[in-house]
């Protein structure tokens, strides 16, 4: 059990700057993100795209912004828990007990949700019947490739993950690759390799088809695919793999008893607290009259939420407003020498 002043959910720019503000006012925090890297949407969706509306920064990319924010909070040595997701919250005597997917536990008076538009999860097959086999024979990522040895594997997708796995698994499994169009978005070398493997019949390549149904009786037996004009085919399958990239889902946040407005969480604009005491929401995931989904708004929201956290983390102390230019306490926290 890790005891801390604040658990921040989401390591995007808003979560990072909130961490900075917590550090400045002398609070500790732990940051959880389900991506394997720091930066949130800025890193996952548009690392190379220039952003033009960060105050006093005429132009920077998502990656540069992230790197600068990481640099800015370095003095505080906060812990990041990446590739993990906050799963469960329980309130005990005004403390939140937080559990993650990987089994980490935190005790904290404050939680700041800086979750953007939710957590990134693999996009799944739209077919209802696939749910029954989810995690068993219908998979969206591969942990142990030995399970596919000598099996029939049907892979869906046209990007690098789909192509790379089709190539890799074709050594020891009977692979069918299905993609909705003739072109692939994977690396040219992989596309070339796939065409070779298809020409020499090592893999079965089917384009302009998508999934219609999966069939089986407890165990997966086959997958039915359809073309846009309605033709269908049935392919024998022990495993079906889907590689359609990531989508953003609200995930477990929806189950914590917070008021929700579509995919956003209403907050007050004094300290960005939600309807639950000690749970704050900032950045794209929060909503209030006049809300702008700008990074700069997320910074402001994080600064105020940090002060909101102070009240619960240090109930017997009075928060004093200080400037970083003048305060020696803050300079100590930042480790700057005069």
């Amino acid at each position: 059990m890790i005891k801390t002043d604040v658990v921040i959910i989401g390591a995007g720019p808003t979560g990072l700057f909130c961490a900075h503000q917590l550090g400045i006012i002398g609070l500790k925090c732990e940051i959880v993100d389900n991506l394997d890297k720091i930066g949130g949407q800025c890193i996952e969706l548009y690392p190379d795209k220039p952003i033009y509306d960060i105050p006093a920064v005429p132009k920077c990319t998502g990656e540069e912004l992230t790197n600068n924010l990481i640099e800015q909070i370095k003095p505080f040595n906060f812990n990041f828990h990446l590739s993990d997701r906050v799963q469960e919250l329980k309130n005990e005597n005004n403390k939140w007990l937080v559990k993650t997917l990987n089994g980490k536990e935190f005790e904290t008076p404050n939680i700041v949700i800086a979750g953007g538009v939710g957590s990134f999860e693999p996009r799944k097959f739209p077919t209802k019947s696939a749910e029954k086999y989810d995690g068993k024979s219908v998979l969206y990522s591969i942990k142990d490739k030995t399970i596919f040895k000598d099996k029939s594997v049907v892979i869906f997708g046209g990007g690098d993950s789909a192509l790379d796995w089709a190539i890799e698994l074709s050594n020891s499994s009977k692979v069918t690759l299905v993609h909705r169009r003739d072109e692939f978005r994977g690396a040219p070398a992989s596309v070339k390799k796939i065409k070779e493997l298809s020409d020499n019949k090592t893999i079965n390549l089917i384009t302009k088809y998508s999934i219609k149904d999966v069939k089986g009786n407890g165990l997966l037996e086959s997958v039915e695919i359809k073309s846009e004009s309605g033709e269908s085919k049935v392919i024998k399958a022990n495993y079906v793999l889907g590689f359609f990239g990531l989508i953003m889902q609200l995930g477990p946040i929806a189950e914590w008893g917070l008021n929700l407005n579509k995919k956003t969480i209403p907050v007050n604009t004094e300290n960005f607290e939600t309807n639950k005491r000690g749970i704050f929401a900032i950045g794209d995931i929060c909503t209030y009259p006049g809300k702008l989904k700008l990074i700069l708004s997320g910074f402001h929201e994080g600064a105020l939420a940090a002060r909101g956290c102070f009240k619960y983390a240090r109930p017997n102390e009075k928060y004093r407003f200080e400037f970083t230019t003048a305060s020696s306490t803050i300079k100590d926290r930042l480790g700057v020498k005069e």
Partner: protein
């Protein structure tokens, strides 16, 4: 300015006058028309503003897909050959009268 008709999956129709230079996606968001999520805000990074152009004549008349749009559409829900990302359809007078159909869902 162009009049754009948005038809939800359940058949509900919406019409909006959208100013030149905005995208079909922005036209929907600014007029509170449901069915287009636009999670990434128009960066061609998420495939949640996916629409179908059912009229073949219109489909051909639209600005051509840029590199990357088809790659993103691969990740959309039920993409078809008449799929477009509405964030990539920039309004001009030429688009007056365009009808877009929304998919059953965006993710």
């Amino acid at each position: 300015m162009a009049k754009i008709k948005y038809i939800e999956f359940n058949g509900t129709e919406h019409e909006a006058d959208v100013a030149n230079g905005l995208s079909v996606m922005e036209g929907a968001i600014q007029n509170d028309i449901p069915g287009i999520d636009a999670d990434c805000g128009g960066g061609m990074s998420c495939a949640t503003c996916h629409v179908y152009i059912n009229d073949d004549e219109w489909f051909k008349k639209l600005p051509e897909k840029e590199m990357g749009e088809d790659d993103m559409l691969d990740q959309a829900f039920e993409p078809k050959s008449n799929s477009r990302l509405s964030c990539q359809l920039i309004i001009s007078d030429d688009l007056d009268g365009l009808t877009v159909h929304m998919p059953e869902k965006q993710v």
